[in-house]
Amino acid sequence: MPDCDAVIVGTGPAGATAADVLTSAGWSVIMLEKGRNHLLSLDAPFGPTGEISNDELKFTRRHFLGPDPLLEPRTYRRNEAEGDRIMVGDVNNLPSGVGGGGFHADGKLPRFREVDFHAASELGPIDGADLVDWPFGYDELEPYYAEAERIVGVAGDADANPFAAWRSGPYPMPPGADMYCAIITAEAATKLGYHPYRAPTGVNSVEYDGRPACNNCGFCAYYGCPIEAKGDPVAPLRHALQTGKCVIRPESYVTRVVLDASGRQARGVQYLDADGVEHEVSARFVVLGAGAFETPRLLLRSEIGNSSDLVGRNLMFHFQTYSLGIFPWRLHPHRGRAVTHLMDDPMIIDDATRAAAKDADLPYFRGGLVEHGGPGAPVQEAIHLPPGELHSALMMSSMTRDCMAAFTVQGEDLPQPTNRIDLDPQVTDVWGFPAGRVTYEPHRHEIAASRYWAPKLEHIMREAGAESTFSVTSPPLAGEPGEQVPGFMTPLSRHIMGTARMGAHPGASVFDASQRLHDVDNVLCTDSSVFPTSTGYGPTLTIVALAIRAARAVAGLEPLHSTRTPPP
């Protein structure tokens, strides 16, 4: 008898959702999480730990959510010509404790659009990118999106975004309070012909699922929620624990996936506990939900699933462009949900963008979702200002915090096989295993889209009243400030995707359309490693929707179906 029906690696949105679905279907589940648990009590009634707080130092300066780069360094280089690495330390570190990346997210949860699932065939190839269609379309995923919004608890306005894909029903909650800075930039954008809308957000606007409405404290992005108004991933983890069929083991570092003698079946996983003692958990299914950085690292370490040589390849972030406006009055962006409006316009291809693309020798480009928000707390502002006589005056006037509004473009990042995560040949983690190494350069598509949209976004800022504007990208473009500075040279985006893509053909993908390894029968992946493309939208809701779909399938549950809501 195996120890459980499914052992799940990782407790973020991918693992938590799988646990929720599988335990609801009666499966027994053991969840292994390499980080600590600061999220919720693991004893009934599974309430908050009380460790989450409005504390900028703890959450943004002192690695409270992990991983600590001294224990788990990652390495980075832009291309192989730069040698083994050009930096060691924090590279796109998503939280590594119970709750994973959902813990610190500010909860913007857009769906992808229909075209995103078949961009390769509809929009065409782009030289230098390995664009492929997803193995299924939006219509198949829609009911899972709806279920994801119900599980997490998403507040939004179904009619707000004119470019949105069709929906089978409304959001579970209406939107919450709009931030003042986003109101004025959204009004300016509308005046200039763009289409901003109130963001679908996984933050309660009313009491929902036993959790309270958000009280707008402002410590949202990069923080946990002290009052549990953010649903992801507290809601699915608590649901799973309440079934009595889920055990969460924090500080449990999975070292490898273990196969049986046939090599086609996983027997379970081996892991080290907090004291470094090795254990093995046997299971009927192994579910990988460690995220698109750690999942390929585990597969490479385990030497499984890589007959396609695609494990780790096609690494995608979002190529972020920040267009910032400094206003002559205070905008108090530290109040509210960090971002309250979105804008899809850069994802829409029209004659103007086609002409700009042609000038850049591209058939087309797509930018990404634009987030309307602002900066948060003051330590972050302070360390980016110069020391000395200017410091105190600039901090008091707060041009780069309290008087600043920000657009963040989640620029679509095209898949390139040379962009990858592999195992560093020298640097190790504290357990002695090779560190994950990122090799990454943006495609010229991302750069062209950024250069096209940044001045337009600055125009919106000036229309809203900004006295000065500027734009920067992450990673920095060649020759721009920060290009050689550790901490700035790596992509700041915490959206990581594509490192074990799914598809119909074993030679061209790692996981099949049901998110099961082509090479091993009973290994499932529910995280964004499986994304064939990044699109220009935040990945979390799609991760959750995919996890529901994949977990239901292995549990033998009927596929979900939906129909379009008739137009009013």
Partner: protein
Amino acid sequence: MYLEPSEHAIVEAACERLIPAVEGHPGGVALGCADYIDGLLGAFLVDPPRIWAGGPYSGRFGGDASFDQFTPLSRLEELAWRTRIEGSQGLAEREFNGPVIGWQERYRDGIMALGDDFCTVSREEQDARLDAVPRFAALLYEHACEGAYGAPEYGGNHDLEGWRAVQFPGDVQPRGYSDIEVSGRD
């Protein structure tokens, strides 16, 4: 605390040059930046160590005050933070990727480089000496900023004057903000 009084005075004077007092802003001395740094360098002189303040509330906007109840570290977290603060000191468990120079050593060397007379020389001379040790000055500046504008339970931001100077209310749970405060112009 960790720093000797003379060292504390030098750190304090240096922080004042990095975050000077001006009208409306009390500056690095009054904000207690040196106290913050002293608390950080001596984090393991108390148990639990002064690394992560507790939660969920400070008591400043309601709820029971718990920030001052620091969170215990796990074995590996203690390893990381001792390495970061104390350096690897030739210990194999801290040197799996090579030696690490800790903040305590960097401060000792930095304070020595600034000179015993740092507190008494002119501001111009103080600035010149800081410019001569740019890597230490950069570390000191980051820590001074954390001390000036972080939660006061870490030892700085005395009397919340750092937040007051920059019109930041700090942690506001469990009160939060009303919808009108979020959406309206002040």
